[in-house]
């Protein structure tokens, strides 16, 4: 095929039975000496969806992303991204992907604009196209004001946003984001989330790794939970949560003084309730029958209920239930550590 200058005409990949999968991984393994960074991983990401890859430090998330983006060769197994084999067709594959690595990979000496412009040119946009795309993305990531400054003067969050913008220049079919919001303040994190959603709306498929349950819940429709290089759970977010069983129940008494009475009343019926610290009480993991029993018991004891809420367990609790051990995962995105808050 003669590929003239410009976008290389893409040969439509012939698809097999999994034709809706943008990413297919089978038996993927990568060893570093004794360390099994990936140890026989299977995973599918359907076109147009967001797959959350969840796991503590050292679980193998980065290794997976680096193999799928052709940076590292697997020791065993196969991976196909956007219809192309990561080992045999890396050049074709690279036309279809964008990567934001765990550590920002921007040129410190160049301005934000020049970083994006360069990538546009390398993706075979002409000078005008590259300029437009760079300006458009700078705007979208609120970097227009800083566009002309060398990126070494950027804050961590700005760098991350620029890195993300860089991976989106080519409107990739599949976007890999390795812990995209680690270390970001909540506002920037929300911006990043919004952009990821926007990319999905534009038709991209996203594979995103995270240590934060909240992030996975916010963005992903499907989850794969990694630990020690292996998939320990996979499925839809809701399915996974339900698997762990039960819901947690929060009750707020009509009269605050009755909180202790309520807890005692439930304890008599074998339900361990604890104060939730906000004037109410929480009963972890109740099933439907117990739920009815709780309401009935409180009613007959004359303890008024002001508010009652059930919710599925958090992914933290899911992780805990699956691994049976305390995860090293932080429960939620930590509060921003800005200079102001330190000072």
């Amino acid at each position: 095929m003669t590929a003239g200058f410009g976008i290389v005409p893409r040969m439509e990949p012939t698809t097999d039975s999994n034709n809706a999968a943008a990413v297919q991984v089978r038996g993927l393994a990568k060893y570093y000496g004794e360390t099994r960074a990936l140890d026989g991983v299977d995973l599918d990401v359907a076109e147009g969806t967001v797959m959350g890859v969840l796991g503590p430090n050292g679980a193998g998330k980065t290794t997976l992303v680096r193999i799928l983006s052709t940076l590292v060769r697997p020791d065993a197994g196969r991976a196909v991204v956007a219809g192309w084999d990561v080992e045999r067709q890396p050049y074709r594959l690279r036309h279809e992907i964008g990567l934001t690595g765990q550590y920002a990979s921007v040129d410190e000496l160049l301005s934000g604009y020049e970083n994006l412009y360069l990538i546009g040119r390398l993706l075979d946009l002409n000078a005008r196209g590259a300029r437009r795309r760079a300006e458009e993305l700078l705007e979208r990531f609120s970097l227009t004001d800083a566009a002309g400054r060398p990126t070494r003067t950027y804050s961590g969050g700005m760098r991350r946003r620029l890195d993300l913008a860089a991976s989106m220049i080519g409107r990739p079919r599949v976007l890999f984001l390795d812990e995209p919001t680690t270390g970001l303040d909540p506002r920037t994190r929300n911006e990043v989330w919004a952009e990821v959603r926007a990319m999905v709306d534009e038709g991209s498929t996203v594979l995103l790794t995270t240590q934060y349950m909240e992030e996975a819940e916010q963005l992903a429709s499907d989850l794969t939970v990694f630990d020690h290089g292996k998939v320990i759970a996979a499925g839809g977010v809701e399915t996974l949560k339900r698997q762990v069983g039960g819901q947690s129940l929060t009750i707020r008494p009509a009269q605050g003084a009755q909180l202790d009475a309520m807890i005692r009343c439930l304890a008599e019926r074998g339900l361990a309730a604890v104060p939730d610290g906000a004037g109410g009480l929480t009963v972890p993991a109740v099933d439907e029958a117990q739920l009815t029993a709780v309401v009935a018991a409180l009613g007959t004891s004359g303890l008024g209920i002001a508010a009652l809420e059930t919710r599925l367990p958090s992914l933290d609790e899911v992780f805990l239930a699956i691994t049976g051990e305390q995860s090293t995962v932080p429960a939620a995105v930590p509060a921003p550590t800005s200079l102001e808050s330190v000072a």
Binding site: R26, D107, A234
Partner: protein, 274 residues
């Protein structure tokens, strides 16, 4: 759990073959990357000043500090030393390539390039082109400055070009060594540090700054095989007149030898890392 026992992916579920970058696209990529490297130099004026002023500083110091002692007067010394400086610039060009390469690897910029549909060689070629531009500028500045100090070209401009050609050939040979160093070291500072350990003995253990006959025997043994001596001798002969062939051949032999030994090693390592 919703995943079924995953079937092995049917043997190539994708059309065979990969699609490399076309030559024309590669030229555009090299252009864009060269521009990037030049902009990096502009954004880092210290390194530019380094390239421009170190040769001038060397020249001034050596001409006026040692010139009289070595060559009787500073004018004679200018004719003696300046031709040898060309080789030195070739050498520092080469070493800068390794540092730049290391920076790209350690900052993750190389990872970004590697996920893009560009030939990996374009990154290297662009680096070489940009460093060559920098060397060309520092050569011109050096020659003009030396002429102000009284350098006379006794032969033809063609000879000056031949001098530059020799320096470039030697620089090309050293680029491979520098690349290897750039990929072997953990950070740019280490590349620079080890680079200095290689450069300084070559620079000063040569006939560039002083004739070798007053040096002790063991040092003469070193200087007589030092490529920078050969380069300096050949350049002097080309600019001032004198026997060119022997030192020029020796310098070329070094360039070819370095390339033959280190180019395959450097390229293999680069391919492995990219």
């Amino acid at each position: 759990m919703t995943t079924l026992a995953a079937p092995a992916l049917a043997a190539p579920a994708v059309p065979a073959g990969d699609n490399r970058t076309s030559l024309r696209a590669s030229l555009h990529h090299i252009g864009a990357l060269t521009r990037r490297n030049l902009m990096r130099m502009k954004a880092d004026p210290e390194s530019l000043l380094d390239a421009l002023f170190m040769p001038i500083l060397f020249t001034v110091l050596f001409v006026y500090v040692f010139g009289g002692a070595v060559a009787g007067n500073s004018h004679n010394y200018i004719q003696y030393m300046i031709p040898g400086m060309f080789g030195q610039i070739g050498l520092s060009l080469a070493m800068a390539v390794g540092t730049g390469l290391n920076t790209d690897f350690t900052t993750g910029v190389m990872d970004r390039f590697r996920t893009m549909p560009i030939a990996r060689s374009s990154v290297l070629i662009a680096k070489l082109l940009a460093e060559s531009c920098r060397s060309a500028v520092s050569l011109v500045v050096l020659v003009l400055f030396a002429m102000c100090l009284g350098l006379r070209i006794h032969t033809s401009p063609v000879n000056v070009l031949a001098t530059l050609g020799l320096a470039l050939a030697f620089g090309t040979g050293m680029v491979w060594v520098s690349m290897l160093l750039g990929m072997a070291m953990p950070n740019p500072q280490a590349v620079q540090g080890v680079g200095m350990l290689i450069i300084v003995p070559l620079q000063f253990g040569s006939s560039t700054f002083a004739p070798v006959h007053s040096m002790p025997g063991w040092l003469q043994a070193f200087t007589s095989v030092n490529p920078l001596s050969a380069l300096a001798d050949a350049s002097r002969a080309l600019i001032n007149g004198g026997p060119v062939l022997h030192p020029a051949l020796l310098a070329l032999a070094w360039s070819v030898g370095l390339t033959v030994v280190f180019a395959p090693l450097a390229v293999a390592r680069f391919r492995k890392r990219t």
